[in-house]
């Protein structure tokens, strides 16, 4: 690296903590900031400092928020009784964009993965179970990813809560994608689509 100025070197080094940013991109970003984006850089550093100092997790759903309760949990118009369990905040953004779901969320920030040594504790499952025991939830939608670890996480939660009275545990449907041609759908998805087929009388 440059070895010109310790401050510049330090900045190049520290910017590499971002995912997908190596030494070369870090150097490009730093030079850009110093050469022609000093104002933007100041705003960035201030925003970064503020966010890192004050953003924590919402006490209820574990989404990132600077308040004790996030704006979704605070919103009285949203259905308190339905909770959707997702793996990451990115999933919340995706679901929110669809404008379909009007309940609340619970974010696991990961999935059960023994190889990475991630267990129920890191996922805040105890907090989720406490929430269920408070009794205000009537339906829990398990929207973990359709990967091995995601499925295992859903099974784990289902197993722990299956005997709770007045709680519906549901899972997102799996099947042929919208606008998809059957010919090009993979076998696993077709199998799931067949076993999860719906009665037209009930849906139309």
């Amino acid at each position: 690296m440059s070895k010109v100025s310790p401050l510049v070197d330090g900045l190049i080094e520290s910017i590499q903590c971002l995912p997908g940013v190596g030494p070369k991109s870090a150097q490009r970003m730093v030079l850009h900031l110093l050469e022609r984006e000093r104002e933007g850089g100041k705003i960035l550093s201030e925003a970064l400092r503020l966010a890192l100092d004050s953003v924590g997790q919402c006490q209820k759903c574990r989404i990132f928020s600077e308040d004790n309760l996030c704006s979704i949990c605070k919103n009285e118009k949203r259905d308190k009784e339905v909770i959707c369990v997702v793996e990451s905040v990115a999933d919340v953004f995706a679901i929110e964009q669809s404008n379909q779901f009007r309940g609340r969320y619970f974010i696991l920030h990961g999935h059960l993965s023994p190889i990475d040594d991630i267990g129920p504790e890191q996922l805040g499952l105890n907090q989720l179970f406490l929430l269920v025991r408070s009794g205000e939830i009537s339906e829990m939608i398990l929207a973990t990813n359709s990967t091995l670890e995601g499925e295992a996480t859903a099974h784990f939660i289902y197993d722990a809560l299956k005997d709770v009275e007045n709680l519906d545990l549901t899972k997102l449907a799996q099947g042929v994608p919208l606008g998809g041609e059957l010919e090009y759908v993979d076998r696993g998805t077709i199998m799931h689509a067949f076993s999860g087929r719906v009665n037209l009388k009930e849906t139309i």
């Binding site: 023994p114 190889i115 990813n145």
Partner: protein, 243 residues
């Protein structure tokens, strides 16, 4: 070291995100053993590699590349096992972790691969706890055997005297079984009854004695082989009985 292969059968042991839409995939291939791949753009909706995250599936993959991390070029589903029970799912997760931690990179073990495939196939059907446990134990035995750490369940270590139904034995993972006395003497910690060992050897785990003995024997043997690595799944799924 292999630089390219086409239409190689593989199981996916583990995936993790890499950059915006890519994945790093640890796979167990039929003819080349455990390997790591980068699946570029595998998270894009239209990517042909997208199916790589389908759980419990045998894939046919093609790859190129020198060095440790190859590039996945093609991936198709050969067979998808529909696993719906929690026990079976835990087994797969356990097996993935076990294979990840016991296999060396690019050390081919086609026999383990074929046994694993058969086991997955059975897990997608069989829901009986006892037979699942028996299959798991048999797989663990074969795994150790193939890795060069086989256990003789029918003979004593060193002397080679056949295991006697009426005796009890101690088990040393590095050595094997050694007689410690006649059966029905109070089993000291870590001792095993000859009849339990023999019924495990015959693949009969119908009674709880042989079942728990088989579990303890395999656990000790695997722990010995794993050295300082631990199987984290044991922490999380203690009661499932799957391990």
């Amino acid at each position: 070291m292999v630089n390219r292969a086409t239409l190689e059968e593989a199981f996916i042991l583990h995936t993790r995100s890499f950059k915006e839409t890519s994945l790093i995939v640890d796979a167990f291939t039929q003819n080349y053993g455990k390997m790591s791949f980068v699946a570029k753009g595998a998270k894009r909706p239209k990517s042909g590699l997208r199916v790589i995250q389908t759980p419990t599936t045998v894939f046919s993959i093609s790859f190129t590349g020198k060095g440790d991390l190859k590039t996945l070029t093609q991936c198709e589903i050969i067979e998808h096992f529909r696993i719906s029970s929690k026990v079976a799912l835990s087994c797969i997760i356990y097996l993935n972790e076990l294979l990840t931690k016991t296999l060396e990179k690019e050390d081919p073990h086609p026999e383990i691969f074929n046994q694993f495939k058969m086991l997955c196939h059975n897990l997608s059907k069989d829901q009986n706890q006892e037979s699942i446990e028996l299959q798991l134990r048999s797989f663990e035995l074969i795994l150790l055997q193939e890795l060069g750490y086989g256990i003789d369940l029918e003979k004593e270590a060193l002397s080679g005297i056949p295991i006697n139904v009426n005796s009890s034995y101690s088990f040393d993972p590095a050595l094997g079984f050694t007689k410690i006395g006649e059966a029905e003497v109070e089993l000291a910690a870590g001792g095993f009854l000859g009849k339990d060992i023999l019924s495990f050897a015959k693949g009969d785990l119908a009674n709880t004695g042989s079942r728990s003995a088989s579990k303890k024997i395999m656990r000790r043997a695997l722990d010995f082989h794993l050295g300082n690595k631990t199987l984290n799944i044991r922490k999380y799924l203690i009661e499932s009985g799957a391990q």
